[in-house]
């Protein structure tokens, strides 16, 4: 359709009920063909009741059943819900805080802050958080999300407007969550986790859209804080539990092209229960990122001996990467209520949209695209074109290029910390193996993903950020 937008017509496969559409450069498309993710976009296009096309964002890569970077929408009243269309780490997402601290002033404190965050925030395989929640308290957290943290643990109510869905989705039926999910989740509230989760202190090194950057609070050469984590074992257990439940429901379905694409009708008891559990896990993740933010703010306040106001620490935005939510989108001439699945994709509402916080309404929702350890991250904004073409969705990151084993092998003779320090990045982690698994070469080029995202018109670039301090699980 264009050098950045490719479509496979539904006539290509008798089982397809919709077209498959990928936003990609030729190179990204070739990689997606090689790794099997195009086939996954096609498999989703075979699901009955799909509204519009089966979509993939420019960071498309192979996932479980549903590709990473995939977006699929179903009618809210008679459509389907797929746990595989959300992923295991429900509401894995990213939060960005701006500051008025110049990078030149931060450098003297960088090491102390990195160590303090590593010491304070549980990361890696240490599952126990600093917050000992009993079942009643945990229930309040998964019901209230970030709101409950602001209410009960500190933080600012003003933050809530800058979190997707206000940091809380409706949840009122604890019976839909297994005992195992409770047991895994309760000790993990306020922890970072492992794998690709991180906390980064970054410097804003380039501004592309000055008015938008100003509104987002991003100033060149100032420091920003990025937090990337999700719903930890709680979300994973919920995903596993409902894949089992949906699997039993889908047994014998000839249409199911992949066992990870099990699904249920949104209105069925199983579908309704999953959506409730999904909301609880989403609330966990928003609460988790809110708690981590408050821990980090407290560290900045202690080390700089100034309050958050003086330091200019303010939430830019918090957004989900793995979620399914009810949203209204224009289909033809009508606004239609849809359940939009985004797996490794972000919501990117356009200027003027009623759900964009008033402060940003004229420029669109911030879209945060983190890079890998040692590479740049980006802030973009939603566009009208994106709203029309992708159910207001955008890319979410780079995606792995090498397996963990390959990354460890490649970095065998390398002191990862020393190498990154030479690049101006201080790295803090209790796990040397974890660091070697996450070397920059293990990830695809985030610049290429952002270039396609912008060229295809689904988001506009606002700012580029470079890591100064990385804390990894």
């Amino acid at each position: 359709m264009s050098p950045w937008r490719w479509r496979l017509s539904r006539s290509a496969d008798k089982d397809m009920v919709a077209d498959a559409e990928v936003f990609a450069s030729e190179e990204i498309l070739r990689q997606a063909q090689d790794d099997g993710s195009i086939e996954q976009v096609v498999n989703v296009a075979c699901l009955p009741g799909l509204v519009g096309n089966s979509l993939a964002m420019p960071d498309i890569h192979y996932g479980y059943g549903f590709c990473i970077g995939g977006v699929a929408a179903f009618a809210a009243d008679d459509g389907l819900v797929l746990p595989g269309g959300v992923g295991y780490d429900i509401n894995c997402g990213v939060r960005l805080l701006a500051s008025s601290i110049p990078a030149s002033e931060f450098s003297a404190a960088a090491e102390s802050i990195g160590y303090a965050i590593l010491q304070r925030i549980p990361s890696g395989l240490t599952p126990r958080s600093n917050y000992k929640l009993n079942k009643k308290e945990f229930l309040r957290v998964i019901s209230g999300g970030a709101r409950e943290i602001v209410r009960g643990f500190g933080g600012q109510a003003v933050d809530l407007a800058f979190i997707e869905s206000g940091g809380c989705l409706p949840f009122e039926t604890p019976g839909v969550i297994s005992a195992k999910a409770f047991e895994r989740g309760a000790p993990q509230v306020g922890s970072l986790g492992s794998g690709n989760h991180f906390i980064e202190i970054q410097v804003i090194e380039e501004i592309y859209d000055a008015p938008a950057a100003r509104l987002f609070g991003l100033e060149k050469d100032h420091v920003a804080i990025m937090i990337h984590t999700g719903s930890r074992g709680f979300g994973h257990q919920i995903a596993s539990d409902y894949i089992e439940i949906f699997r039993k429901k889908n047994l014998g379905s000839a249409r199911l092209k992949d066992p990870q694409l099990v699904h249920a009708a949104i209105r069925s008891p199983q579908g309704r229960n999953y959506l409730q559990a999904l909301n609880a896990a989403s609330n966990f993740a928003w609460a988790n990122r809110q708690l981590l933010q408050e821990d980090i703010v407290a560290i900045f306040e202690r080390i700089f001996r100034q309050g958050r106001g003086k330091l200019g620490l303010a939430l830019v935005y918090d957004q989900a990467h793995n979620i399914a939510k009810f949203e209204k989108h224009r289909i033809g001439k009508e606004m239609t209520n849809l359940l939009v699945h985004r797996k490794g994709a972000t919501r990117a509402l356009p200027p003027g949209h009623g759900e964009v916080v008033e402060k940003f309404r004229n420029i669109g929702q911030p879209v945060i695209i983190p890079g890998s350890m040692g590479s740049r991250s980006y802030v973009l904004r939603g566009t009208e074109r994106g709203a029309a073409l992708t159910f207001a969705s955008s890319a979410h990151g780079a995606g792995r290029r090498l397996s963990r084993h390959q990354a460890i092998k490649l970095s065998a003779q390398t002191d990862v910390r020393a190498r990154l320090q030479k690049m101006g990045v201080l790295v803090f982690s209790f796990s040397n193996q974890g660091l070697r698994e996450e070397i920059p070469e293990a990830y695809k080029d985030v610049d290429a993903v952002v270039d396609v995202t912008v060229a295809s018109g689904i988001s506009e670039k606002v700012a580029r950020l470079r890591p100064l301090v990385v804390i990894k699980g």
């Binding site: 479980y64 492992s194 390959q406 699980g473």
Partner: protein, 137 residues
């Protein structure tokens, strides 16, 4: 292919295992998971705890996913390593066994969050039942 081994995918990791019968298959699945989690399968330890596991499913893939998920739950949440299986019943749709447990002597090497059905299919080759399970980490 050995009786059990660990392999990597681009994003995650997994285990391959085989057995002449379902007893062997489930035992080697356990050995493979112990290799991934702790670097080796432990020698038999006596005098420790046990846990009764029983799962009836719709096929061997379903039983394997639920069995391995239970072993992971015991390792991460209860800090117990399953070192042996005392079978009561094992076939393609059901596994019932006493899982012999010992305290984990070390922290697991990897943070496995979920057992997936991704490309999971039991196959028979040269009289051996074989499968590969991918874990989300």
């Amino acid at each position: 292919m050995r009786n059990y081994e660990v392999f990597s995918t681009t994003a995650d990791t997994g285990i391959r295992f085989k057995g002449r019968d379902f007893h062997g298959l489930y035992e080697n699945a356990l050995r493979g998971l112990n290799l991934l989690l702790f670097g080796s399968h432990p020698r038999r330890t006596h005098g420790d705890d046990s846990f009764h596991f029983s799962y009836s499913g719709d096929g061997p893939e379903n039983v394997l996913v639920n069995f391995l998920a239970e072993v992971l739950f015991l390792a991460y949440q209860k800090k117990k390593q399953v070192h042996a299986l005392d079978f009561i019943h094992a076939d393609d749709c059901r596994l019932e066994a006493w899982l012999r447990l010992a305290p984990c002597l070390s922290v697991p090497k990897v943070d496995i969050k979920s057992v997936t059905y991704h490309n999971l299919r039991l196959v028979e080759k040269a009289g051996m039942k074989q499968a590969a399970v991918i874990f989300d980490i």
